[in-house]
Structure formats: C-alpha cells, structure tokens
C-alpha cells in the first residue's frame, strides 16, 4: 500500500493547525517582542468555553464557537491590561515578562482543571460517523477539511488587515519601534491591546478546531504553544507568510519523520529542526 498521499494529507492537516497557532503568536510577538507563554492557556480556554456552551448548556454551535473565540480574545486582552502592560510600563526586561507569562500559564491551566476536571473531552457530537472524503489513496474528514479552509481564511484575513488597513500599518510601526510610533502620534497602548485581542482570538480558534478534530484537556496548552512558537521562528518572526511556511514545514518534517524514524521522536525532531534553523538560518525562511 502506498502511504505517501496519506502522509501528505496528514502533514497538511497538522500544518494548518500549526499555521493558525503561528499566525496568532507571530502577531503578538512581533508587536510586543516578548514570548507570551500564556498564549497556550488562552487558546485552551476558548476550547473549554465551546465545550461549556455546546456540550453542557446545549447551545447550537454557530453561537458557541464564535463565543469561544471571543472569550479567548477577551482573556488575552485582560491579561495584557492587568499584567503585561504594567510590566512593560515599568520597563521590565523580556525575561521578566517571559517568567510572568509562565506563571499565568501555570495558574490558568490549573484553574481549568479545577472547573472542568482533568478528564479528556471532545467537542464533536459523535466520535464516529463523520463524513469522510477520499483524495488519491488517502482519506480526510469533514472537520479536517474545515481546518484547512480556516487556516487559509485566517491567513488571508490577517494579511489583508495588516497590509492594507491603517490599523495594520500602526501595528507594524509599533513592532518596529514603539517609541517612534508613540512620537508620531500612534496610541500604542490601544494598538497593543487590540493585537492581544486578535492574536488570542486566533489562538482560541486553533484550540477549538483541535477540540473538534481530536479533543481537549487542560494540559494541552503548552504543546500548542510550543508548536506555534517553533513554526513562527522557523518561518521567520514578524512575517505573516513566514509563520505559515514554517508551520507547513514543521507539519511535513514531523509526519515524514514518523515514517522514516519513529513516532516517539516527534517532539525531539520538531526541536531539532528549530535548533538547526537557529544555527544556520536564524532569520527564518522569510525575513521580516
């Protein structure tokens, strides 16, 4: 049996998830220039919100999913105003922000476990009986098709906003040099707040899609975060297309790594790719 088509499909599906994560992470990182580790927890909160509304309260998905995305965005925004803005106003170093966001990640994951228990949950209505599509000799589910389309939509939407709107130009200005942006009259605080909202909402979307495809648990925040980070850096920090290219590269390397090496080395392979890139091409695939 030829497994090549299936491997390619798997790589594309994984790559799409990583791409969405990388887009949100890249947006925040390139604007504020620090590693926001709480990004992973904020993503998972969105997925749990959908779980709460649709599974526990029985609301329809077209209400629950947008609400989940909004909640992730709001939490991200609130974290910025309550923690990160204060730290940045005090001119804390990036490392201080990194450690603080680590604290947020730890606390939020534990709170999720208190409210929803550590049990694994799935968002899809049934665990089987989903529609399957065949492509060459591979197969793909309906959810996964939606994941692919969402990744494309988020990429196009974000590229449009960043390249063609005034807001996008302001975001770029803040990312390039916050002081200069302030001097030319940009309300940097407001821009960064919006960036946190949008980036976190994208993260929430990614986690919700993962929830429909495979499932959710409180501790999935860290792996989601790390995949987003690796994809962003491999692709090129601060470049919208770069993050997506990095995500698909990561998806392909991981899945073909399983074929040629073995599944248990998946995470090690992902980080080996990261280190190789950092050594030989630190600016990533695409420069900023």
């Amino acid at each position: 049996m030829d497994i090549l088509p299936q491997l390619i499909l798997n790589s594309l599906i994984a790559g799409s998830i990583y791409a969405i994560l990388a887009l949100g992470f890249n947006l925040i990182f390139s604007t504020v220039n620090f590693f926001d580790l709480s990004y992973g927890a904020v993503a998972v909160i969105g997925a749990y919100a959908v779980f709460y509304f649709s599974k526990l309260l029985g609301w329809p998905l077209f209400v629950a999913v947008p609400l989940g995305v909004l909640i992730s965005g709001t939490i991200g925004f609130l974290l910025y105003t309550s923690v990160y803005r204060r730290l940045r106003m005090r001119r804390s170093s990036n490392t201080v922000l990194l450690v603080a966001s680590l604290g947020v990640l730890t606390a939020l994951q534990a709170l999720l476990a208190i409210f929803f228990s550590s049990q694994f949950q799935t968002l899809s209505a049934t665990s089987s009986g989903e529609r399957l599509f065949s492509l060459f000799s591979g197969s793909i589910t309906e959810t996964q098709v939606i994941i692919l389309l969402t990744a494309v939509a988020v990429l196009l939407g974000l590229a449009f906003v960043l390249k063609l709107t005034l807001f996008g130009k302001a975001v770029k200005a803040v990312g390039d040099d916050e002081e200069v942006a302030k001097i030319v009259g940009i309300n940097t605080d407001k821009i960064i707040g919006k960036v946190f909202f949008i980036g976190s909402a994208i993260a929430g979307l990614a986690a919700i899609l993962v929830g429909f495809d495979t499932g959710i648990e409180p501790i999935m925040g860290l792996p989601l975060l790390l995949k987003g980070v690796i994809a962003s850096i491999v692709g090129g920090i601060g470049n919208v297309y770069g993050g997506v290219a990095g995500a698909f590269l990561l998806g392909f390397v991981e899945n073909f790594g399983i074929w040629k090496i073995s599944g248990e080395w998946k995470d090690a392979i992902a980080f080996a790719v990261l280190i190789l890139f950092l050594v030989f091409r630190p600016q990533g695939i695409f420069k900023k």
């Binding site: 049996m1 030829d2 497994i3 299936q6 491997l7 499909l9 798997n10 790589s11 599906i13 994984a14 534990a110 476990a113 228990s117 550590s118 049990q119 694994f120 799935t122 665990s127 089987s128 009986g129 989903e130 399957l132 065949s134 591979g138 197969s139 793909i140 589910t141 993962v210 495809d213 495979t214 499932g215 648990e217 501790i219 999935m220 792996p223 991981e254 899945n255 073909f256 399983i258 074929w259 073995s262 599944g263 248990e264 998946k266 995470d267």
Partner: protein, 382 residues
C-alpha cells in the same frame, strides 16, 4: 543595595516564622492517637496527566470511607483520609510518602495509583514501618519489592500474556502496536511481545509521547506493514478513543486489541460503540453479577451522579478500603502487623471478586478475555 538589607531580613524572618510555625502546627496537631478517628494515608495523582485516574479514585475511597463510618467505623473509630498528590511521578510520590509517614504518622498508605509513585514510596514506607497498599500500580518491578508493599491489582505481566495467546490462536502472526511511552502500556507490550514471539509471532511497534493527539502518520505507517491486527495500548482510554477514531478515519478496519482500561470503562465502550465493536481485551475480573460490584456501581452513581469510570481500578480501590478496615480490626493499627497480615488474605470476597495476596505482595489472579459487543463488554469464550 544597602537600604534593601532590612527588607530582605524581614522577608527571611517572615519565611522562617511561617515554616517553623507550619511544622509546629503540624507536629502538635498530630500526636499519636489511641482514640478518635483513624488516619489513613492516600497517595494518588491529582494534577498532571495521571489526574484522570486520581480524581475518580478519590471519589471511590471517599465513598467507601463514608459507608464504613456510617456502619460504625472500625471498633467505633471513624476513618479519615489524609490525601496527598503524587502527580504520577517518583519525586512527588516520595514527597507525599515522606509527609504521610513522618508528619501524619499514618500506619498504612493506600497508593499510589501509578507504579512510579509506588516505587518511590516503597523505601520510605519500609523505613517508617508503614504498610503500603496499592490498588492500581501494576508494574512487574513491584513484585516482591518489599514486605511492606502489597496490591490488590494484578501485575501487567498476565494481561499481555493472555492477549498474546489469543492473538496466536486467532491465526494472527504479525500484530502492530501503537503504544504510549509510559510505564503501564510499555509493560503490557513487553509481556505480549515476550509471549507472542515465543509462540512464533512478530510484533511491529510505533510509540508516541504522552499528550500527542495526532496519530495519523503512525497509524498509516503501521497499516503499510500489513499487520493481521492492531493493538491500541495507551495509559488512559481517551488516547485509545482518539487512536481508534483516527484508524477509522483512515479507512482501516483491522481486528483490534485494546488494553484493560478500555474494556473496563463502560462509558468509553458505549459512547464509542462503532469504534471498538469486536475489539478484544483482557480485563482483570470485572464481574457484573457480583453483588458487591453492583452495589459499588449504584452507590457511585447515586453519590457522584456519574458512571464509575475505570471499573477495573474502581473495584480494587473500593476493596482496598474494606480490606484495610478488616486488617485494622484483626491486628490493630500497626503498619508492620498490617503488612504481615496482608499476606494472609485468602479468597476474600470483594467487589473485584476473590482476593488472595501472595507472599510477593501480588494479587493472585489473572486477566480474563473480553470482547466488545454492541457497546458493551462481554466475557469472551471461544
């Protein structure tokens, strides 16, 4: 720098007061008891990956304790649980054991649920002459490890062996394994592989790290090797469900073998009817006709408004409390005597069937073959 010094000093003093105060409080509060409630130590995972087992286990313990106390406790004394989080790892298992043995001065610890917690707790329990009674740790490394350790859950070794024999009888010669990189699934694989290759079969294996959720490429790789059957070997049923779902999504329908945690969890089996139909497992004795087991299921549902998950563990956890009660009634509250007493347990009727503890501390009964039919687990007879 200089003006910081008093501040630092006050920090240090405050800290010292808290720590010393904490110990004092703890030490004076726990004088050796002759009357009043009896403290039983409990080690189980309440945070991290293993929490999915720890949470229901704590429910079962609490249920059993409430029942025992309602019917008069042990010699008129109530049982209370002192619960510590072992996080399913050695370090926290050791910390928890140290506190239970040396601060709470318990004479018996129920736990851990994970083998790693138990392995790290054994030397501490032994040094403190405290009995360590695990209803869940199944690592073969624990067999005969210490006179203070015993368990009413059988070692993994028998599960893998029983399934390997079944696979060979079915005419399968190559069995593919998709296995989580943790002690329990690895233990099952090793036992299976040893017996299966002895019989003349062959295994191919893909491992995956805990927390993985995308198994498609591992599955595709195994599929391309054309095995006769697929063994889904995970620590928790959730991962097995994810794998089985992805196997179906790849349009592959091999005969399935699953670990006892799947066939032992009616919720998983009934909610994923289509996924696990016809899957084989070797479970250690959940007997739905056993009145004690039925009683456990009903009272769990009544108290927590949910089905008892992981019934194979639930039954041994429930029995553990009743065994401890009998032990204390028989030889008194003394770790050394309780450990010695445990070796005399023979054909004791519990929710998990007849319990006999061997001289090695292991439970003397094995796994029986089960098959999933129409969303239910049934006894398999050829």
């Amino acid at each position: 720098m200089e003006d910081n010094k008093p501040k630092i000093l006050s920090w240090v003093i405050l800290l010292a007061v808290i720590i010393v105060g904490g110990f004092f409080f703890a030490r004076t509060a726990k004088a050796p008891e002759v009357a009043g409630p009896i403290s039983l130590g409990v080690i189980l995972p309440l945070t991290g990956d293993g929490a999915v087992y720890g949470e229901p286990a704590l429910n079962v313990y609490q249920l059993a304790v409430d029942e025992i106390n309602k019917s008069g406790g042990v010699g008129g004394r109530d049982l209370v649980l002192v619960v510590e989080d072992g996080k399913c790892n050695g370090k926290d298992g050791a910390n928890a054991a140290q506190k239970l043995v040396n601060v709470d001065k318990v004479q018996i610890i129920i736990g851990g649920i994970c083998s790693s917690e138990s392995l790290a707790a054994v030397p501490i329990a032994e040094a403190g002459k405290v009995a360590l009674f695990s209803p869940g740790a199944s690592s073969p490394d624990l067999t005969g490890r210490s006179p203070y350790f015993f368990r009413d859950y059988p070692s993994d070794a028998s599960q893998g062996r029983v399934l390997a024999e079944l696979a060979y009888k079915k005419g399968w010669r190559t069995v593919a394994f998709i296995q989580e990189s943790l002690d329990y699934p690895l233990g099952i694989f090793k036992a299976f592989d040893a017996r299966f290759s002895e019989l003349g079969g062959k295994t191919v294996k893909e491992e995956f790290p805990t927390g993985a959720s995308d198994f498609r490429s591992s599955i595709a790789k195994l599929q391309s090797q054309k095995p006769d059957a697929l063994f889904v070997d995970t620590q928790a049923p959730a991962a097995s469900v994810r794998i089985a779902k992805q196997v179906k999504e790849l349009k592959w329908n091999p005969p399935l073998l699953v670990a006892d945690i799947v066939v032992g969890d009616p919720k998983t089996v009934s909610e994923n009817k289509a996924l696990f139909e016809g899957a084989f497992g070797a479970e250690f004795g959940v007997d739905p006709n056993n009145p004690k087991f039925q009683h456990l299921l009903e009272s769990y549902k009544q108290k927590y408004n949910a089905e008892l998950p992981y019934q194979a563990y639930g039954q041994t956890e429930y029995d553990a409390l009743y065994l401890v009660k009998e032990g204390i009634a028989a030889v008194g509250l003394d770790g050394q005597k309780l450990a010695a007493w445990s070796r005399t347990i023979k054909d004791w009727d519990g929710a998990s069937g007849q319990v006999t503890i061997e001289a090695t501390g292991d439970r003397a009964s094995g796994h029986v073959l089960k098959i999933v039919k129409d969303g239910k687990t049934e006894l398999y007879t050829e």
